[in-house]
């Protein structure tokens, strides 16, 4: 029995959400009085792999094969399942990221395991292995009992936090057989907006809605986000109108997020929008309509015209940063 965490890399680096998943997996390993192994796939420097020790991984399996340089769902799932078998790991933890969402279900089927995706807390310790996960797009939580011998958990970003747990990680090369049929998808191009904070795991998010009138007015939203080091988001009608890309659309039919701070500017706060953002820790609303439903779930609010308030907020933030 042990815990295995899959650590996804992007261009040879681990992101905060990976250290969060390792921290979470370590806490589960402690709960179960066992140890934590991490598995990394792709070209990652030893010094970067060693970083995983800081958060509690005592062993790191390093898979570095030419065929696995870029993410191939099927093949990665096979490698992770093989690593779980090698390590006798019965609990497998991943980030509930875009690739995690594609991998976790395949691993679950391979290992005949129950899967709790969108986990927001550590499993219960009351004899049953239950995980609290988001449901109904953040309008509720479902306490899901994993009844199978093997278990897979995909952790939501920002749900657990990063916790240091200094361990010396032993790096070990690992290889698993890969079937040719597992390599059917071929990546042609990866486009990363490197200067932008990625929305799903952003800690701070500045979001705007139809109240901004048109795409030409997003300059001030981007400036505010830039000053804060925040990601930008938008409401559905804004992405429907192509003012902003679909990847920024948050809500019930967009991305569900739970940043530490969500600033909503010129967004009414319709139930479908709230569904995807209401688990944000702190919500700030700027809207000229004092009756806007968003004020009912906000922690801080400014009733005012965004075109006057946001530039002033930018000035105040600049002054604050000195």
């Amino acid at each position: 029995m042990s815990v295995l965490v899959y650590v996804e890399q992007a261009e040879g680096k681990f992101k905060k959400s990976v250290f969060e998943a390792v921290s979470y997996a370590k806490a589960i390993a402690d709960q179960q009085s066992t140890h934590l192994t991490a598995i990394s796939i792709g070209d990652v420097a030893e010094s970067e792999l060693k970083e995983l020790g800081k958060y509690g991984a005592s062993k790191v399996l390093n898979v570095n094969a030419d065929q696995l340089k870029t993410f191939v769902n099927q093949a990665y799932a096979s490698v992770i399942a093989a690593a779980a078998e090698k390590e006798s790991a019965d609990i497998i933890v991943l980030s509930n990221s875009f690739s995690g969402k594609g991998l976790a279900p395949r691993i679950a089927v391979k290992l005949k395991a129950g899967l709790a995706d969108g986990a927001v807390e550590l499993p219960s310790t009351d004899g049953k292995f239950s995980v609290k996960k988001t449901a109904f797009s953040g309008k509720a939580f479902a306490i899901t009992e994993l009844t199978s011998a093997n278990k897979v958990i995909a952790l939501n970003p920002n749900a657990f936090g990063v916790k240091e747990n200094a361990t010396d990680a032993a790096i070990e090369a690992f290889s698993a057989d890969i079937k040719q049929s597992d390599l059917a998808t071929v990546i042609k191009e990866i486009v990363r907006a490197t200067d932008k904070v990625s929305l799903p795991d952003a800690e701070l998010v500045v979001s705007a809605g139809r109240g901004l009138k048109g795409p030409e007015n997003w300059g001030m939203i981007e400036e505010l986000a830039g000053l804060l080091g925040a990601a930008t988001a938008c409401s559905k009608p804004v992405s429907d109108a192509d003012w902003r890309p679909h990847s920024e659309h948050v809500g019930q039919t967009g991305i569900a997020i739970s940043p530490n701070l969500y600033i909503a500017i010129g967004i009414s706060g319709a139930i479908q929008h709230l569904a995807g953002v209401s688990s944000s820790k702190v919500i700030v609303v700027i809207n000229k309509d004092p009756e806007a439903p968003f004020f009912k779930v906000a922690d801080y609010g400014i009733v005012g015209d965004a075109f006057e308030v946001v530039p002033k907020l930018i000035e105040a933030l600049k002054a604050h940063k000195g």
Binding site: K101, A108, T134, K196, H246, S247, Y300
Partner: protein, 245 residues
């Protein structure tokens, strides 16, 4: 070409979510059910790809007879026929197993689902079906074009996108952007009544997970309003009180 589209029956997006029986059951009283919005996108793309006699679209749902109106809606949108696997959908693993069992000997060229259902937000079914059938699965796609046997797909990744190709059979879960959801026409609604809806039995599947209880998020406190000309106090509250900046 033959396309299979998985349809989930979910509470309408405006539903206020409540629970009964000591928070162990979802309260269905007064709830309107709809085709899962992402599945509508998948279905719409499937219809586009087969338009003009280029193929057929089958909608599949795992559920009891109460789901039939939702399945008829999928037929009204433009699916050619539909299948219902007659069982209460226990969890994603169960649903995926049923879909895979149905699909395994039917020779579908392509299977599409929505990126997730808006009730359990699983993102699970597509990749699980892919694993059960041992075919590629591509999750959260934004664009899908076909050129003969090869599909070109754009999918979302953190902070960007990925363009990939895949040849042969595969399953993909669709997000916004893949297609504009189609609205049923009067003719579609009329013809949906007579399109075939086959009911098949479920196969036995091991239980791996079950929801035992629900919780609703703690209500938030009341909003602290700051005058519009005092943006600097908002900044200082976010810094020293909320400690988020």
């Amino acid at each position: 070409m033959k396309i299979l589209v998985c349809i989930s029956n979910v509470p309408d997006t405006t539903t206020k979510i409540t629970f009964t029986n000591d928070n162990t059951e979802f309260n269905t009283a007064g709830v309107q059910y709809i085709v899962n919005p992402y599945d509508e996108i998948a279905l719409s793309r499937a219809i586009e790809l087969t338009e003009g006699g280029k193929g057929t679209v089958t909608a599949i749902n795992v559920g009891e007879a109460a789901n039939d109106p939702t399945i008829r809606k999928a037929l009204a949108i433009g699916a050619d026929d539909a299948v219902r696997v007659n069982a209460a959908p226990r969890d994603a693993y169960f649903v995926a197993k049923q879909i895979a069992e149905y699909a395994k000997d039917k020779d579908f060229d392509l299977i599409l689902t929505g990126r997730e259902s808006i009730d359990y937000n699983g993102n699970q079914v597509a990749a699980m079906v892919g694993e059960f059938l041992d075919i590629p699965s591509i999750s959260i796609i934004k664009k899908l074009t076909l050129d003969g046997d090869t599909a070109t797909i754009e999918r979302e990744i953190e902070g960007g996108k990925e363009v990939l190709t895949v040849s042969g059979k595969f399953i993909a879960s669709c997000a916004e952007g893949v297609a504009e959801p189609k609205i049923p026409t009067m003719r579609g609604i009329m013809s949906a009544r007579t399109k075939p809806l086959t009911v098949v039995d479920a196969v036995a599947t091991e239980e791996v997970a079950k929801v035992t209880r629900y919780e609703t998020p703690a209500p938030r406190g009341t909003v602290k309003l700051i005058p519009a000309d005092q943006t600097e106090s908002l900044i200082s509250l976010l810094h020293s009180e909320a400690k988020v900046i």
